[in-house]
Symmetry: C2
Subunit: 330 residues, 2 copies
């Protein structure tokens, strides 16, 4: 084990004594809302509801194997079983190599988050696998120390190291994710979100392609003001500042045309008192924030109805913005 992890290891020594006995662990990771509109590739929050589960077993062979990928979400059986091509597999490969572990891992994934939904499905597999693997290490790491391996895993599916999904899954709630670290932000307990996932397919590649043309300074300045208002509103628990800030002028105008029904869904949320509404991750899921659970619960059916009017079934989740973090199960 490299010296870089010695302090995390020693501070977790009592936990590690128990973990040393453990050969297998399961962990879940929640879904998440990436970007939160104004924080492209920077901000995200975890949500209650859909989750992926990973089961990791320590094996003698010095390798990472994926034994099975299950789940009743469409496309789960098409995910690559080759570890280096799978986000969760790659995260465990990176963990093994960095720590210089003598043993390997065998991994099983139970997908509960729909693929290509914009809810961080690949990130959740990656984080669930890391949290489960961490539980079978002789000297478990801190969540902060797991971050780099989660970014390694995410880069397999997205091609870039952005932590706006894995960071909130690792820490819970709203997290600012830079290329090197996670900064959890305070979240008022009255903040609730509605997340609606329609039965649409939106390829991430297409959702990224529309962002390629550069952005005018005036737009960037307005978006910066929105981000600043949003962060200040979050920190002060000020719904008025959040309402002013939670307006995405940069990415949403380019991606919204790719999501049939989006404009009506957003309008339904705002009509029901949403502080703001936008696209979750690369879409097609949409989210809206509310100043109470009751408002969120009342808005959810209206948002679903708007998708239905556009011809799409959907699932809706009502969740605290301060959603859960990934945890070992049982």
């Amino acid at each position: 084990m490299s010296a870089a992890f010695s302090s995390a290891s020693s501070s977790a020594s009592s936990a590690s004594d128990a973990a040393a006995q453990r050969r297998q662990a399961s962990a879940f990771a929640p879904a998440s809302v990436g970007n939160i509109g104004v924080g492209f590739d920077l901000l995200g929050h975890s949500i209650e509801g859909p989750r992926d589960v990973a089961t990791v077993r320590r094996i003698e062979a010095p390798e990472v194997r994926i034994r099975a990928i299950r789940g009743d979400v469409p496309g789960a059986d098409s995910l690559p079983l080759e570890a280096a091509r799978n986000t969760a597999g790659q995260a465990l490969i990176a963990l093994r190599e960095k720590l210089g572990l003598g043993h390997g891992f065998e991994l099983e994934l139970d997908k509960g988050i729909p693929l290509g939904s914009g809810l961080g499905g690949s990130a959740a597999s990656c984080v669930a696998a890391l949290v489960a693997a961490n539980a079978v290490l002789a000297q478990p790491l801190s969540r902060d120390a797991l971050y780099e391996f989660a970014l390694d895993g995410e880069s397999v599916s997205s091609g870039s190291r952005h932590g706006d999904n894995v960071a909130p899954m690792l820490l819970g709630g709203v997290v600012m994710a830079t290329s090197t670290r996670m900064i959890p932000l305070s979240v008022p307990d009255w903040l609730y979100a509605v997340v609606v996932h329609p039965d649409q397919v939106l390829e991430t590649r297409r959702a990224r392609a529309v962002l390629a043309d550069p952005y005018a300074l005036a737009l960037v300045v307005k978006q910066s003001a929105h981000l600043a208002l949003f962060l200040t509103g979050l920190q002060r628990g000020d719904a008025g500042l959040l309402r002013e800030g939670l307006v995405d002028l940069l990415v949403e105008p380019r991606r919204a045309p790719l999501i049939p029904g989006f404009a009506a869904v957003k309008a339904a949320a705002l009509d029901h008192g949403a502080l703001g509404a936008s696209i979750s991750g690369a879409g097609p899921s949409c989210f809206a924030w509310f100043a109470s659970r009751a408002e969120a619960a009342a808005a959810a059916p209206a948002m679903q109805q708007a998708f239905a009017d556009a011809g799409f079934d959907s699932r809706a989740y009502v969740t605290p913005v301060a959603g859960p973090r990934a945890e070992v199960i049982g």
Copy 2:
């Protein structure tokens, strides 16, 4: 007087009894660092040191007159005496019209902030005039209520309504300035700035022109992360976050080539422990932030030396980041 100001007026009624007697008042407004690197047209902070002074007299004639503009800064005598073409004059015209005042104002300006320095000289004249005029009103307004008139004035000189200079002058310290309101931010008391003004001329028009070409998404995302780190660092009083955040990737790379010596000045600041350094407003002044007054004081001569090596005399100011606000004098 319009209904919009009735609450501000009634809450200030005891002050207004005294003010009703007053026919003339003088006020100063401090210089400021616009943009603070990562908050283009959004963030600014006031500084101790250079300041403009305005003297306003209530007159019977229903008009705004500029009686004199004085000052030992180069170019002060070339500023327009026609009220509608002068930032301070235009601010008072807007104030008169909005409040429906029966009387007029006569204005004298004493310029202490060099023109075209990037230290908010035109904004300071405007704010000093408003604060002085407010002191001779029968029913003085709040600082928040003065903001719109300050933006009206600023637009005469810059052509756009941006409040990153007038807002910190009105409230003091670091202020987030949107098109409609000012949001003061908390500032750790150990934060100090060095502001160095070289004897160079940089036309604002030229400084704006280099910003015209649009910006790549990857750059915008990095800059957003820096802004978020900066705001979080300020709010938490975390020097490490400020150091990570106070890096301008958007505007500085385009403007720096217009300021001979800039790279060396910035390097000198960073060599002396600066948390970050960039261009003040549209330049050519430069600023750097430090975690103590002692560090700032030690860095100032080195920053001046770097300008001297490039062939430019300069003035340096060491100031708390939580600088003063405009006030009535005497």
